[in-house]
């Protein structure tokens, strides 16, 4: 039980003095950049993972990992499929 404590995350931080590790805050900045780059790349229309990777200059496997994670979290969705077996993705909504 939080025992009536409000904003428990803030209170936890105050009481323990813990700071977020730098590597994690850097990771979050990186994730935000990748998210912005991917959604930006999809502005002109749906694209496959290799097409997105080429446009944003990121490794295909890493692009695949983020695109598929963003699909899981409902940020992106598959739209259609190419003859070669790739899906084209677009921003959801």
């Amino acid at each position: 039980m939080s025992g009536g404590v409000k904003n428990t995350v803030l209170e936890y931080r105050k009481k323990t003095g813990v700071e977020p590790p730098k590597e994690l805050t850097e990771l979050v900045k990186e994730i935000n950049k990748i998210k912005a780059k991917i959604t930006n790349a999809l502005k002109e229309g749906p694209k496959t993972i290799p097409e997105i990777a080429k446009e944003i200059g990121m490794k295909e496997s890493l692009t695949a990992w983020y695109v598929l994670t963003f699909v899981k979290y409902d940020l992106l969705e598959p739209e259609s499929q190419t003859d070669e077996g790739y899906y084209r993705y677009k921003v959801k909504g």
């Binding site: 428990t8 209170e11 003095g17 695949a64 990992w65 598929l68 979290y73």
Partner: protein, 452 residues
């Protein structure tokens, strides 16, 4: 990232030391074997405590697609059992908890120390709505999908998790508070004032059902697992085929393409002295044939080739299941795979010794390779016994007192084992052993208590 022990982390308050609680039986491990044992004992009227180290019970089974040879949906069978154990009046659960120490004081008298880890989520309020997960900005590989996709620092382990509530991964949290602000319950269910709790249990008997580990495929260096993204292992494929799968379709990790020429390599890390595991893992042939059949159903145009040393289809209806796979057009090549090479487009060249053609070295191209990894023992549990030795075999599986006449009793009287904690086996055999361990436990308790 270094992962801290639960005693090194900082908390809002002191670690809570709880007064002793008494139970008839402690079951360690909430996989299908432990669940069966707990249910059988609970139904017989024994007071049971089930300790599971993960944030959900279920073990491997509820992460699987379907089960061989009947092709039943694994989570459809597992989830009701999980719910049954969760709501059983005679069974208490300590989920997200670890047994740290067991001391035998006498027959029918074990003292156990259990650490209950804080979820930082109030389980009495959390509705499992997932709003916190959507709001959290941190993404890290999800261990339940073996890293195929990401999860947040606060997450619901699985759609079918029991309990289906969130858990905060403190090691990846940046303490931004977004989860707490997004939580719709009043007050929010996110609760960073939680602290670990130490439970002291007095129990009459113990069942160990701590399951298995997957073989670490990186040890077979010629296959480049962990380096070539399209070399995956069988648990990855079971996840890709499951209704709760991480992707919206069956896709290969290197570039999101739907694979159409998939290879299986059997016996990876099993029957292999070079990796210290001479044993057959018993289930890999069958789970590979199961997955191959499911792939043929999901991707009708795909070719599936299984490279095997020999197929061990020893169980009820297994041979028919194997013949059915052949009839479906799954190619079976008797060949030992020597190495895998990667092409620039992510496709893979498999070099194999063609045993049926005089051992000639041949090569074939595939766009996804699945390594049918073996099962290895979960060794940690043997270390928690103080003053008593839990016997294990040469590989590390728990060794029963008598493999033939008493296969579920361990070297410590009053301590029984069930399921894959004793060695590789499938779900039905794990369930049978869960039931057997429950019966032996009941007999032991009536014997030692009758004598008192």
């Amino acid at each position: 990232m270094s992962v801290k022990s639960w005693y090194e982390r900082k908390y809002y308050g002191e670690i809570e030391d709880l007064p002793e609680e008494e139970y008839d039986v402690l079951v360690i491990g909430g996989g299908i074997a432990g669940i069966q044992a707990a249910l059988d004992l609970g139904d017989m009227g024994f007071k049971v405590v089930l300790v599971e180290k993960e944030p959900s019970i279920g073990g491997f089974m509820y992460k699987l697609s379907k089960t061989f040879p009947t092709m039943d949906c694994a989570s459809c069978i597992a989830t009701p059992r999980m719910a049954q154990v969760f709501h059983h009046p005679m069974i208490d659960l300590l989920i997200y908890s670890e047994v740290e120490e067991i001391e035998k004081k006498g027959e029918g008298d074990f003292r156990v120390k259990v650490l209950e880890k804080p979820r930082f989520v109030d389980s009495s309020r959390c509705t499992g709505c997932g709003q916190c997960e959507l709001a959290c900005p941190v993404i890290v590989p999800h261990e339940y999908d073996w890293g195929l996709a990401g999860r947040k620092a606060v997450y619901i382990p699985f759609d079918t998790a029991v309990p289906r509530i969130a858990v905060v991964d403190l090691d990846h949290c940046i303490y931004c508070g977004q989860c707490e602000r997004a939580c719709p319950t009043e007050p929010p269910s996110i609760d960073f004032t939680q602290v670990p709790k130490i439970h002291h249990l007095k129990v009459g008997a113990i069942i160990i059902a701590t399951g298995f580990h997957l073989f670490d495929a990186r040890l077979k260096e010629n296959y480049h697992f962990g380096e070539y993204p399209n070399v995956i292992h069988a648990m990855h494929m079971d996840r890709l085929l499951a209704p709760t799968r991480p992707y919206h379709a069956i896709l290969r990790p290197s570039d999101g393409k739907e694979p159409n020429n998939i290879a299986y390599i059997l016996c990876v890390g099993s029957r292999d002295k070079t990796v210290n595991n001479p044993n057959c893992s018993q289930i890999c042939c069958m789970y590979s044939i199961k997955q191959a059949q499911l792939i043929m159903g999901a991707l009708p145009l795909a070719d599936v080739t299984i490279y095997y040393i020999d197929i061990r289809a020893f169980g009820k209806a297994f041979e028919e299941f194997y013949q059915q796979a052949k009839d479906m057009g799954i190619m079976l090549v008797k060949g030992r795979v020597a190495k895998i090479e990667q092409k620039e487009n992510g496709d893979l060249i498999v070099w194999y010794e063609d045993i049926e053609n005089g051992g000639k070295l041949c090569k074939a191209e595939h766009d996804l390779v699945v390594l049918s990894v073996g099962l290895l023992p979960n060794k940690e549990i043997a270390n928690v016994f103080k003053g008593q030795k839990l016997e294990v075999d040469d590989v590390g599986w728990i060794k029963p007192v008598d493999e033939n006449a008493n296969p579920v009793e361990t070297s410590i009287r009053g301590v029984f084992a069930a399921g894959t904690a004793l060695g590789p086996k499938d779900i039905p055999d794990s369930v049978i052993e869960g039931g057997a361990a429950a019966m032996q436990c009941a007999a032991y308790l009536s014997e030692v208590r009758g004598r008192h």
